[in-house]
Amino acid sequence: MFKPYTLQSRLCIAGALVLMLALPLITSDPYIMHVMVLVMIFGIFASAWNLVTGFAGLKTFGHHAFFGLGAYGSALLSMNLAISPWITLWLGGLIAAGAGFFIGTPILRIRSMAHVAIVTLGFAEIVRICIANFSSVTRGEMGLWGIPQFEGFTLPFAGPITFSPADKVSFYYLSLVLLLLMLGVIVCLMRSKTGLAMLAMRDGEDAAESLGVNLTRMKLMVFGLSAFIVGIAGAFYAHYLSILTPASVVGLDLMISIIAMVLVGGLGTFTGPLVGALVLTVLIEAMRDLESYRMLGYGLLIVLIVMYLPKGLVTLRERCFPRPQE
């Protein structure tokens, strides 16, 4: 993880980037664009969850709270205070980060994985119920709609860019920019000394502490950052789909599918969450033809992937082309 990029990996990254940039030129089928936008939203979410769980070793099951807070926060700010979604996007992230610090504090003391999982899950349930119950503000389960879209603008060469449900391509590029930005933050962090200290904390808190790693600061930092990123993803989702219901953005279902993505893709790797988000989102769409067998097949595939590729899909390459031990 801390070695310089090899030529091969540079080429892979460049290739993937070019492909992502060029995709709308190949096909601008709105359905494909829509699925890809979802892939990228979930990719951001999954990467941020992987940051706390895979890299920092804090096994939380409650990150959907931050997604929901980001989404509702941004939506309500832009609706009620008439602030541009371009700004509330970041405010949504900040709200989520605040909540991240808040719930990060009690879990500082907890070392058992299951406890962290349950405490965060409980917190997310509290958030969901509160959003559902304060229906005078959030309209509760009836769903918040009428969320403003991003304002359009004019790009020097490309002409006017607009954001409406039919403009999938502009959403595609916007989400791609966000994804790259967030991913850049995560990669830079993890390849830095802070990242190293974080991995050390994951593998042994006592030893890390004895080597000068401030666990409290580290945990709060990573929790806040990850919540911020998830909050941004949530805020983008709100302005993209323009309907929010507590069950769909703070529901356990959402968290479960994110967890599945990361585990299937490969926990504790950079590409794993992205691969997982891509594969599972596309898979669940591709299996629409299986009709009532769809979810059955989906679950079965998760089990099989986990059993035969226990470190996730990202290890597939090494499976196929094993590299000699150095």
Binding site: Y31, V35, S135, G140, M142, P165, I243, R294
Partner: protein
């Protein structure tokens, strides 16, 4: 020729019961129509092709489904969601931006109607096939008033309590009912929202026994909750008048509670094949093709038949023309007569339209 109709509804997840029933009912109608050679559209005999997609009751999955139907399958019109209001609200926008005609199925949320009213131009080609959430509230209120007037029921303290499912459905019903009763001098002594599928009501019932309401209104989509509440009311000996919304129309309810449902009121009496001859006719019709029809089937059947009828009258699936036909709908079906309120694209309710009937067991 063939007209492609995309249908989005919950085929998995906790609402799958209804979603699957809706799917079967729609297909039933389509098969009937196709067996008769189809309908005349744009001057051609046209058969109906239904393409179903799952929404799992989740907006983003529903939007994906709609997106796929509209672009991949290139459907000519869309029905969605067949059951969940939140999905309908989400895909209204998507569909509007493609300029296709959209009808929703069972969703009742008044938010949908409100959204139509908020931007009539944008949603000119969206029509709702079920009434608004306030319908039940009115029905309950009128039923209680009616019983009192007839001297069959005497509310001493005029106290009312609600136990409802913590969903859009449960909450909005309660929200509409409370002011009606309050205006008539009632006071609300219980307001208990429980999670979907909840089944242990002892704490709520203990609390209510202390509050002694005259009327207890319960609102669930999950039959499980309905059965449990009804039974536990009996067990704990709470003697309020129990008015149940929606869930008793599911056959499992009667299986589950047996005699414990005595004396309770329920609405909507959408479907009662035992006592209602029209419903019986529909039941027999579907039974002959091997479908054991439930209330969901009945609604699905009539909603879709109404859509087909409108297609026939419009002679095209072109959105503007079809919407014109919808505005003039007057379609009599087994469950009632569809006539639209053109202000909010919602079918009218009432004895002469779609009856939101109240019945006593």
């Amino acid at each position: 020729a063939e007209v492609k109709i995309g249908v989005v509804g919950p085929l998995t997840g906790p609402a799958a019961t209804s979603g699957i029933a809706m799917r079967d009912a729609y297909q039933f109608v389509a098969d009937e129509v196709n067996a008769a050679g189809g309908i005349d559209l744009n001057g051609e005999k046209t058969t109906l092709k239904l393409i179903f997609e799952d929404s799992a009751s989740r907006p983003e999955i529903g939007v994906s489904a709609a997106q796929k139907l509209l672009t991949r399958d290139n459907v000519d019109l869309l029905v969605g969601d067949t059951f969940a209001s939140s999905v309908t609200i989400a895909l209204m926008d998507v569909a509007a931006s493609y300029g296709k005609f959209v009808m929703s199925g069972q969703p009742v949320s008044s938010e949908i109607a409100r959204k139509v009213e908020s931007d009539p131009k944008r949603f000119a080609n969206f029509w709702k096939a079920s009434w608004n959430s306030d319908a039940y509230a009115k029905a309950v209120f009128e039923a209680v008033e009616g019983l009192t007037a007839a001297g069959k029921f005497s509310p001493e303290g005029k106290k009312i309590a609600f136990v409802f499912e913590d969903t859009d459905y449960g909450k909005s019903n309660t929200e509409f009912a409370v002011p009606l009763f309050k205006e008539a001098g009632w006071s609300e002594v219980g307001h208990e929202a429980v999670p979907l599928g909840h089944s242990d009501f002892y704490p709520q019932l203990s609390k209510l026994r202390g509050a002694k309401p005259d009327v207890l209104v319960s609102i669930f989509t999950s039959v499980n909750s309905g059965v449990a509440l009804t039974r536990q009311i009996k067990e704990t000996g709470l003697d309020s008048l129990h008015v149940a919304i929606y869930y008793p129309l599911r056959p499992e309810f009667h299986q589950g509670v047996g005699a414990d449902s005595e004396k309770m009121l329920w609405t909507p009496m959408l479907y009662d094949p035992v006592n209602n001859e029209k419903h019986k006719a529909l039941f027999d019709l579907m039974e002959s093709k091997g479908v054991a029809a439930t209330g969901d089937h009945a609604q699905g059947y009539c909603q879709f038949a109404m859509l087909v009828d409108n297609l026939k009258r419009a002679g095209t699936y072109e959105p503007a023309k079809l919407s014109e036909a919808f505005a003039q709908t007057d379609f009599d079906c087994y469950t009632g007569r569809f006539v639209y309120d053109t202000a909010n694209h919602t079918p009218k309710i009432g004895p002469e339209f779609l009856p939101v009937a109240v019945a006593q067991v």
